[in-house]
Symmetry: C2
Subunit: 209 residues, 2 copies
């Protein structure tokens, strides 16, 4: 590309380094910013800096927070002995949006993936083990994805945690609400039959959460 | 959405204000930036500010530039009497990338679009008329799109410029190189037959550029 301004070129290059944004999109975004008020660009620019400077990881659960202990971990109304283990902070948001879960979280920051060079030591696992060792945890819910890596990580954690006096459970897999059986994949359908639940328990699903 | 950090929320909101970027993508980008080095985020942030602060419009052609007169308009090796009128600076880049055009450009900054409230006065038209009036222009090539708005703008400029002693031309429309006739739309195909060119001239196409 032949940019008429090196500042434009630099901005396009930097924006284009973001994941999923190619050169053409980066140029479109840069031209959009050029048309905006200077104040708007300043706000965007400073919000990115603040994001990097001010957001920290909760020292207890690994969730993103503005404080050393996040709002969920420091909330006395949440059940601090019920821990849901999830992969990243987007999963926290997804579960929080349901408004149903009253326990706390433990964010691993990824899953074990030898292909990408991510082993257990790269993940936020020790803290979970420490917490378990201290007897603060009554139940751990595995909420990782059903990918090969997710299952591997769940199994690794299961092995590590099996020795403690902690109930280990996994979020239910099955047919999504509103889905029709004929469109469900075989694996999910087979699992939803194998792991069927008593009919009465299917309508007071929130009792333990 | 339930953000655990207001700085994260602010950054997601600001990134999500960019065109074509929704909340989910904005969150993905924000999380990506959180994982990057602080230095990288600073470079991105400052490149956006510099973009807005340092890039100006060439006072002669309306192209983006770091200087008051852009490199193309101040280049003595370009034919300053041959002007290609285009919609925006991406068109300049596209034509420059061909490496074939030796004239200069005139960037309108848009096309006439009553639907979007863009009239001739919103566009960089006066400067083109001034340049034409001063007798500096030998030929103007209309290089606007073939949309309704593009055609309207071209016709408007044609009416304004018809009184001057300037050759007015339009970039050729036709079957793209490498395209097969059977897949071309009827309008393009009909036009490419109506505006056929002598066979000999089709292979020294660069003589006048």
């Amino acid at each position: 590309m032949n940019y008429s301004s090196r500042y434009l070129e630099k901005a396009v290059e930097e924006i284009g380094n973001l994941p999923g944004i190619g050169k053409k999109t980066a140029l479109r975004l840069a031209l959009h910013l050029l048309k905006k008020e200077k104040r708007d660009v300043e706000v965007l620019s400073s919000s990115l800096l603040e994001l990097k400077e001010k957001v920290i990881y909760c020292q207890s659960c690994g969730n993103l927070s503005d404080r050393t202990t996040c709002e969920i971990c420091s909330n006395p109304h949440r059940d601090q002995s019920l821990v849901c283990v999830i992969e990243d902070i987007r999963d926290v948001m997804a579960i929080e949006n349901t408004g149903q879960y009253k326990g706390i979280y433990h964010v691993l920051g990824g899953v074990i993936s030898p292909m990408e060079g991510i082993g257990p030591s790269e993940l936020n696992i020790d803290q979970l083990l420490n917490k378990s060792r201290e007897g603060l945890v009554r139940e751990i819910i595995f909420g990782l994805g059903t990918t090969m890596e997710g299952e591997t990580t769940t199994f690794y954690l299961y092995k590590k945690l099996a020795g403690f006096d902690i109930k280990l459970s996994s979020i239910a897999r099955g047919i999504a609400m509103g889905d029709q059986l004929e469109y469900a994949d075989e694996l999910t359908l087979a699992r939803s039959i194998a792991q069927r639940v008593p009919y009465e328990s299917s309508f007071h699903q929130n009792q333990n959460s």
